[in-house]
Symmetry: D2
């Protein structure tokens, strides 16, 4: 195996899009979506992107005995989302490292960016030890991104 | 073993009291505590009652390979709790059955009842099978209730 | 206005169905969906049923200055839902009273009932006072149920 | 008024400490605290720091018609918190700007840092417009930090 996989790959292409409706559970007494809940939206979107890419996390757990854990995240809040809003979460993988994945996620409403999230995921074993992203998962991500670019 | 343990015991006595502060995370766009979150408050209070009774759930899991699962719950909502309220959750075990525990929990604010919750907990194994409440846990509950009555 | 509306109407018919995917945020350390979160699922499903019936809650708030508040709920937990499950929430309005709506909601997975929820909603003003369900909302519910029966 | 208040003040001193117990509601199927929930812990701790400093947010809302909104947050996750852990959230105000407050919050367990959170809060009016932090609130923060340093 050549070690192309060892140097980080910068992926770009169309984003994965996932719609999210805002319900009462997501809001707070300020009348807007509670700040922590954007991270829930982001995780739902990442999960669906992986499922669509053919690499659902059940596969990672059952076949490869590993999973992605969030190591770092950052959120910029530009405008508040509100009850009943229909949001779109756009997810882009920015970089596929040996044992990490960097992604950017935009929470959009009618073309306006409400929040921007950056996450670094680390591939870890069941005991929490960092490991390389399984080759098959890596290939699935690459394949998915190529198909997104063609789309 | 005499089968006193087999017939349900009706316990009465002073309630366990647990204070809970309402934060933004607990409220919704209606300006009040979101209806599902009373169940979170109730579970926190039950956990602390068990810890105080000397039967923390880590003991149940580690020593007896069982835990309590909620089989049924009911909530009556009388008055809404609001941001920054300091609530008191009063927990009373109503009945200690062979494999179940029935409890009543009142969510109070300054002596006013805001919500009343009834839960039926079932003792289950790690695989979800119903089992008898371990004798030691049962004894801890009884001891605790006697001490509450004396208090 | 004849007072048909004043006596409760028992509605029956096909249920409203709403799919819900289980994400990490919904689960707990027991590996299953946290017991309070079924109430979130139920509220999402009720919201979508109302939207589909042509009576979204934004209408109630903006046009009629009222909204539905949960007065009572009961949950029976039969089998746990797990990470990644695709659930279906079936919502049926059981009774349309003057100022209340009684609904039953089943949380299903592949035709198996995991949990059953009963809620009583009360129509309240912005200050929390109970009021009659607006005639237009009532009509929307009735219309919706007729269309469901035909379906 | 001299414009000392206009240039950002760098505050340092002992941190505010707030204990948090981990309950089932905080955990996920991975057996650890769900990543978004650290932001809930952080917000609880900030609220209590403000209350202790004599500047509870009810004061801000009722007397000054403003509140703090999170504009940016970052979280580094070092080690997972687990069910039943007793955590300590240490909150330090790093900088008191004209209309913003920068804070750092450490989530600790027995002296070990589990997560580090940085937040930038902006003072906003009820309509979401940025405004200067009210002088009284600013004074309360400064007073509090002086008292912390003496402690």
């Amino acid at each position: 195996m050549s070690d192309a996989a060892a140097s980080p790959q910068v992926l770009s292409g169309a984003a994965h899009r996932f719609p999210i409706r805002v319900y009462y559970e997501d809001t707070d007494a300020g009348g807007i979506v509670y700040y922590a809940n954007y991270l829930k939206f982001a995780e739902r979107a990442r999960t669906e992107m992986m499922r669509e890419a053919g690499a659902p996390h059940s596969d990672m757990v059952n076949r490869f005995r590993c999973s992605f854990a969030v190591r770092h995240c950052e959120v910029d809040y530009f405008r508040p989302a509100r009850l009943d809003d229909l949001l779109d979460v756009e997810t882009r993988i920015l970089e596929l490292g040996g044992a990490t994945v960097d992604a950017e996620q935009l929470v959009m409403r009618d073309g306006t960016e409400l929040a921007r999230i950056r996450v670094r995921l680390a591939c870890i074993t069941e005991t929490g030890r960092a490991v390389r992203v399984p080759a098959e998962i890596r290939a699935a991500f690459n394949e998915y991104h190529k198909s997104q670019e063609r789309a």
